[in-house]
C-alpha cells in the first residue's frame, strides 16, 4: 500500500517535471532560434574566409582572428600589430570604465538619497529615475546632442555668462560619448544600489557614531562595505552595455570616435569583412563573459558583514 503511494508520488513528480519542460519549450525555442543559437553561427563565421562582396566563402580560415590582432601590409606582407583595433578596444574599455565611475559618483548619492526618504515617498523618487530609463535611447542621445551642440543650451549659457567667448566643441568628441553614456546608464546604477541601500541596517551606523566615527569613516568603513554587492551589480550593469555601446558613439561621436560596437558594424557594412566582424563580436562577448564571471564570484562573497 505505502509502496504504491510512493510510486504514485514518484510518477506525479515525473509528470510535473515533464509538464514544466513542455511549458518552457516555447520560450526556450524562441530564444534558441533568434537569440542564443545565432551566436554559434557568429563563432563559425569567425573561422571562414571573407567573400568578395560581403558574406563568406565556405573555407576554413583563421584570417578573421589574425586580423583582430595583426595587420598585414598589402605591399610587402610584413605583419604588425593591428594598432587601430587596439586603440578602439582600449578607448572602449577606458570610456566604459570612466562611465562606470561617473555613474557611481552620481548614482550612489542619488540611491542613498532615495533610500533615506520616508518609505511612502520612495517609490515616487524611484519612478522619477525609471522614466528616463524607459525613454528611447536614441531620443536621449538626441537630447544630449541638442544640449551640447555649438549653439546649444550649455554653450549659449556659458557665452551669456561671459565665461567663454566662442562656443566650445563638445559634440563629436570623446567627452560627448562619455557624457551620453553616463546619462543613459545612470538609472542602471541607481536601481541596484537602491536595492542594497534600502536594506541597510541604520543601527550599525548609529553604533559607528557611538564609537566616534566621523561621517566620512561611517561612509567608507560601514556603508560602502555593507552595500558592496549593490555597487558591484550596478557597476557590471553599467560597464557591460557601456562597453558594447553602438548608438551613443554613432550619434554623439559623429562616426570618427569609434567604439567596439561601431568597429563591428563597419566590418559588416563598408568593410565587407564578415569573418573579422564575427571574430571581433566573439572577442566582445568574451570580455563581457569575464566581467560577468567577476561579478558572480564577488557578489556572493561579500555583503552582510562590515569587514568587507
Amino acid at each position: 500500500m505505502s509502496v504504491d503511494a510512493a510510486e504514485l508520488n514518484e510518477k506525479l513528480h515525473r509528470k510535473d517535471i515533464r509538464d514544466r519542460w513542455f511549458l518552457s519549450a516555447p520560450a526556450l525555442i524562441l530564444i534558441g532560434v533568434a537569440s542564443v543559437g545565432p551566436l554559434l553561427i557568429v563563432l563559425l563565421y569567425s573561422f571562414l574566409a571573407p567573400g568578395n562582396y560581403g558574406d563568406v566563402k565556405w573555407a576554413f580560415s583563421t584570417d578573421g582572428w589574425f586580423n583582430v590582432f595583426f595587420s598585414r601590409d598589402i605591399f610587402d606582407d610584413t605583419v604588425s600589430l593591428a594598432d587601430a583595433h587596439f586603440t578602439i578596444f582600449w578607448r572602449s574599455i577606458r570610456l566604459a570604465l570612466a562611465t562606470t565611475v561617473l555613474c557611481l559618483i552620481f548614482g550612489f548619492p542619488t540611491a542613498y538619497f532615495i533610500a533615506t526618504r520616508p518609505p511612502q515617498n520612495r517609490s515616487i523618487w524611484l519612478f522619477l529615475i525609471t522614466i528616463p530609463f524607459w525613454t528611447n535611447m536614441l531620443i536621449r542621445a538626441f537630447a544630449i546632442q541638442e544640449v551640447i551642440r555649438g549653439e546649444g543650451l550649455i554653450n549659449t549659457l556659458l557665452i551669456k555668462l561671459g565665461i567663454i567667448q566662442a562656443p566650445i566643441q563638445m559634440l563629436f568628441t570623446d567627452f560627448a560619448i562619455l557624457l551620453g553614456m553616463t546619462y543613459v546608464h545612470l538609472p542602471l546604477m541607481v536601481l541596484p544600489l537602491y536595492a542594497s541601500l534600502e536594506k541597510l541596517d541604520f543601527r550599525l551606523i548609529e553604533a559607528a557614531y557611538d564609537l566616534y566615527a566621523s561621517r566620512f569613516n561611517v561612509l567608507m568603513k560601514v556603508i560602502v562595505p555593507l552595500v558592496k554587492p549593490g555597487i558591484i551589480a550596478g557597476s557590471i550593469l553599467v560597464f557591460i552595455p557601456a562597453l558594447s555601446s553602438y548608438v551613443i558613439p554613432r550619434v554623439l561621436g559623429g562616426g570618427k570616435n569609434l567604439m567596439i560596437g561601431n568597429l563591428i558594424e563597419l566590418q559588416f557594412g563598408q568593410g565587407r569583412n564578415w569573418p573579422l566582424g564575427a571574430a571581433l563580436s566573439v572577442t566582445l562577448v568574451v570580455i563581457v563573459l569575464f566581467a560577468m564571471l567577476y561579478y558572480v564570484r564577488n557578489a556572493g562573497k561579500s555583503g552582510g558583514s562590515a569587514h568587507g
Partner: protein, 270 residues
C-alpha cells in the same frame, strides 16, 4: 548641534542627488520645449507653434514607420509575453530540478549578450534564410523582437507568481477542478496584473529597439527609431523634436500604467 544630528545624513549627498535628477531631466525638457518652436532651429527659440507636429503628421515616412513600429511591438509583445508566462509557470514554485538553472539562464541570456552581437548574429542568420526562402517580410523583425523581449516580460510575471502561494490552486484541485480549470479560473486571474505588466514592458522594449532592428530590417522596413537614426545624419529640424515628444509621451503613459500595475500587489498584501 546634537538636535540636528541625523545618522542618515551624508554631507553633499542630497545636493548631488538633486543635481542628478536635474541633469536627467534637463535634456529631455529642452527637447520637448523646442518641439514647439516656430522657427526651423532646434537651438534658437522663435515663438510657440505646433507646426512641427503638423509637419510630422503629414510626413508619410514618419507615419509609415510609426505604424510599422506599433505593428511589430504589439505582435512581438504578445508572443514574448505568452512564452514568458509559460516559462514563468515552469520555473517558479517548485523545488529545484534538473534543468531549472539551464532554463533560467536561457531565458535571461538575451539580457547578457551585447545587443550589437545579437544584431550581427541575426543579420548573418536571416540573410541566409532570405536567400533560401525568398521571404523578406516583417517576420524576421517580429521573430527577433519577440526573442529579446522574453526576459523583460518574464521579470514581472515571475515576481508576481512567486508572491502567490499554491494554496488556492490546491483548494481548486481538491474541489475537482482539472488542471486547465484551475489555471483558467484561479491562476490566470491572480497572475493577470503580472502578465499585463510584462506585456507592457515587452511592448516598450520592442518599440525602443534601434540596434537589432537596424541590422535585421530589409529595405523599406524602417521603424520609427531607425528612421530617426537615419535622419540624425542630416540637418535636424524641430520635426525630430516633435516626433520624439510624441514617442516620449507614449512611453511615459505605458510606463506609468506599468508602475501602478506592479505596485498594487504589495498594497493588497498589507
Amino acid at each position: 548641534m546634537a538636535k540636528n544630528f541625523s545618522i542618515r545624513r551624508q554631507p553633499g549627498f542630497a545636493t548631488l542627488a538633486m543635481f542628478s535628477f536635474f541633469v536627467l531631466y534637463l535634456p529631455i525638457a529642452t527637447l520637448v520645449v523646442y518641439a514647439f518652436n516656430s522657427g526651423t532651429s532646434i537651438a534658437t527659440w522663435e515663438g510657440f507653434s505646433l507646426r512641427w507636429f503638423q509637419s510630422a503628421w503629414q510626413n508619410q515616412q514618419v507615419i509609415e514607420a510609426s505604424i510599422r513600429s506599433l505593428q511589430i511591438a504589439s505582435i512581438a509583445a504578445v508572443i514574448a509575453t505568452a512564452c514568458a508566462t509559460l516559462a514563468a509557470l515552469a520555473t517558479t514554485r517548485t523545488a529545484p530540478y534538473r534543468g531549472l538553472t539551464f532554463k533560467y539562464s536561457m531565458v535571461n541570456m538575451p539580457l547578457l549578450v551585447p545587443e550589437i552581437v545579437t544584431a550581427v548574429a541575426l543579420l548573418i542568420l536571416f540573410s541566409r534564410i532570405k536567400v533560401w526562402t525568398g521571404y523578406s517580410g516583417l517576420g524576421y523583425l517580429i521573430l527577433a523582437h519577440s526573442a529579446f523581449c522574453v526576459p523583460f516580460a518574464y521579470l514581472p510575471i515571475r515576481a508576481r507568481l512567486e508572491s502567490m502561494d499554491l494554496s488556492l490552486e490546491r483548494a481548486a484541485a481538491d474541489l475537482y477542478a482539472n488542471a486547465f480549470q484551475t489555471f483558467r479560473y484561479v491562476t490566470l486571474p491572480l497572475l493577470w496584473p503580472g502578465i499585463l505588466a510584462g506585456l507592457m514592458l515587452a511592448f516598450v522594449i520592442s518599440l525602443d529597439d534601434v540596434v537589432i532592428t537596424e541590422f535585421v530590417k530589409s529595405g523599406g522596413q524602417d521603424t520609427l527609431p531607425t528612421y530617426m537614426l537615419g535622419q540624425l545624419r542630416r540637418v535636424v529640424t524641430p520635426e525630430m523634436n516633435a516626433i520624439s515628444t510624441v514617442f516620449l509621451m507614449l512611453s511615459l503613459a505605458i510606463v506609468t500604467v506599468f508602475f501602478f500595475l506592479s505596485r498594487n500587489p504589495q498594497k493588497d498584501d498589507r
